[in-house]
């Protein structure tokens, strides 16, 4: 009974979020521009350098999962600003005064972010196909990509929601968001292997969830690609981080209106 209510409440939130994106998908397409630049310009240029040890993979094939991971990070990390906007409009008040579980409200937002992430993944798959990069099309591999993209989007959007609940204003949020995205991106294996990094950065990269997202996508998405840490560890890290952040954000979410 309680599980059913919880699921219904979470799905209700995800449903309205998805309707809003489908009604105005401009953001999905505008967010696809940056991956094009990274893959087509950065990937092609650095592919010629041949100084980055990517094993038997071509550099653009090595880069593609990293750019999908980056795309998920960049779009999810600013998700919280929408919640600040909803707070200013009074929509959050309406949600919080309902008997819905706070964690169901947070999970519903995360689920909606997962759906947005999957839409972005489709666009990046189209781009990667057009570039002639070999992809894995087995049902298991595709299911793995779907799960990791949804989980990573949920993780980073919940992180973003937590920041929004702490900083509370759009101006502060934009500053923090900008501050977080680049370090998370560069201190990961998205555009180069961790082996190239100095020791201190290697430690930071191993603590960075984006590293495990990229590692899993590299193993699941690219023909001939492999996961360095193993898919089990990759999924376990993302799931554990997501659960911890959801628990913290469920407590913080009601404080956004104060």
């Amino acid at each position: 009974m309680i599980a059913g209510q919880f699921l219904e409440q979470g799905l209700a939130i995800a449903d309205v979020e998805a309707r809003k994106v489908l009604r105005d998908p401009t953001e999905l397409f505008s967010r696809a521009v940056q991956p094009v630049l990274w893959l087509v310009i950065f990937g092609r240029v650095f592919g010629r350098v041949r100084g980055i040890p990517t094993g038997h993979l071509d550099y653009t094939a090595f880069l593609a999962p990293g750019i999908l991971a980056q795309s998920i990070l960049f779009s999810s990390i600013f998700y919280g600003i929408g919640v600040i906007w909803e707070r200013d409009l009074g929509i959050v008040h309406k949600l919080l005064v309902s008997p819905a579980h706070r964690s169901a409200l947070v999970l519903g937002k995360a689920l909606a972010a997962g759906l947005r992430g999957l839409a972005q993944a489709v666009l990046i798959y189209v781009l990667v196909c057009l570039m002639g990069i070999g992809l894995r099309w087995s049902p298991q591999a595709l299911l793995g990509v779907v799960l990791m993209v949804a989980a990573a989007s949920a993780l980073f959007s919940t992180f973003s929601l937590m920041i929004a609940c702490i900083v509370k204003t759009r101006e502060r949020f934009m500053g923090i968001g900008q501050l977080l995205t680049m370090p998370l991106f560069f201190a990961s294996n998205a555009i180069y292997p961790i082996a190239l990094m100095p020791g201190w950065l290697r430690i930071a990269a191993r603590l960075n969830p984006l590293t495990y997202v990229t590692d899993a996508l590299r193993g699941l998405m690219i023909a001939g690609g492999g996961s360095v840490y193993g898919l089990r560890l990759d999924f376990a890290v993302i799931a554990a981080a997501f659960l911890a952040l959801t628990a913290a954000t469920s407590v913080l979410y009601p404080t956004i209106i104060r």
Partner: protein, 271 residues
């Protein structure tokens, strides 16, 4: 989610207090609202009206004191309280990017209204508020009065015992304001609904409220029926005179930057 049916006092607050750091927003407020009553909280900006409503709707924890709403304790049974109340905040809470039907459907799902009952309840709510023709329209195309009526429909969808309205007619033109008043009177007549309303508008308080409490600096300065409060000042006294007397007859600079911004934004969205 059923609870003890409120028969006597639907709201009972004892020494309810809320501090924000050094600021005492609500100071040992005690209040009783009877079943079926429209109770008005009046006061200048920053008097503590909205903070009181936020505590009673469980959006804000009290710093001290207790309160029960619809028979449930706001501290120990907040989810039960939320299941028995409806709330229309001062801000615009309907989502402009959704249709009226989608807004109502979201509320229905969050309040656990079964899928079998949902369509009928939504149709009933739209009809009662005169919005039947507009269920499929995006709310951002609505007038201010239509938005407020939709928000009332959302707040009433789960048939609450008590409705909280935080300045419900702010920013509305006189016609839209009168329509909201008529709907509230009709609700009280047909459902014996209890309403706790905050307002700045003396005409609204006079027209709607059975009992009033005038707040200043987080405290109740005067309380009673409108007629009795006016009679206490003399035969020709108005509610404005009662308000001025309760507030010490002094024009006070009150409210903060954020509060003023919110009020102006709401007025601009609905106007």
């Amino acid at each position: 989610m059923t609870g003890p049916l409120p028969t006597g006092d639907v709201v009972v607050a004892e020494d309810l207090t809320r501090r924000f750091g050094e600021i005492l927003a609500v100071d040992r407020l005690s209040l009783r609202v009877k079943s079926g009553q429209i109770f008005g909280l009046l006061g200048p900006n920053g008097a503590g009206k909205s903070t009181t409503i936020k505590m009673l709707t469980t959006l804000l924890e009290p710093s001290a004191g207790t309160a029960s709403v619809a028979g449930f304790d706001i501290r120990s049974q907040p989810r039960r309280v939320r299941g028995r109340i409806g709330y229309v905040p001062q801000l615009v809470s309907a989502d402009g990017a959704l249709t009226a039907y989608e807004n109502l459907n979201l509320s229905a799902r969050l309040y656990g209204i079964s899928s079998r009952q949902r369509k009928a309840r939504i149709a009933e709510g739209l009809e009662f508020m005169g919005l039947s023709e507009h269920g499929g329209r995006l709310v951002k195309t609505f007038s201010g009065g239509m938005i407020r009526r939709l928000e009332l429909a959302q707040a009433l969808l789960h048939r609450p015992d008590l409705l909280f309205l935080d300045e419900p007619t702010i920013g509305l033109d006189p016609m839209a304001r009168r329509t909201v008043w008529d709907k509230l009177k009709e609700l009280r007549r047909s459902l014996n609904l209890t309403v706790l309303i905050t307002t700045h508008d003396m005409e609204e308080a006079d027209q709607l409220c059975d009992e009033l409490a005038i707040m200043l600096d987080g405290r109740v300065m005067a309380r009673g029926e409108s007629a009795a409060l006016k009679a206490g000042l003399g035969q020709a006294a108005t509610l404005n005179d009662v308000f001025a007397a309760a507030c010490g007859g002094v024009i006070r600079e009150s409210g903060d930057y954020r509060g003023v911004g919110q009020r102006r934004r709401t007025a601009s969205q609905l106007g």
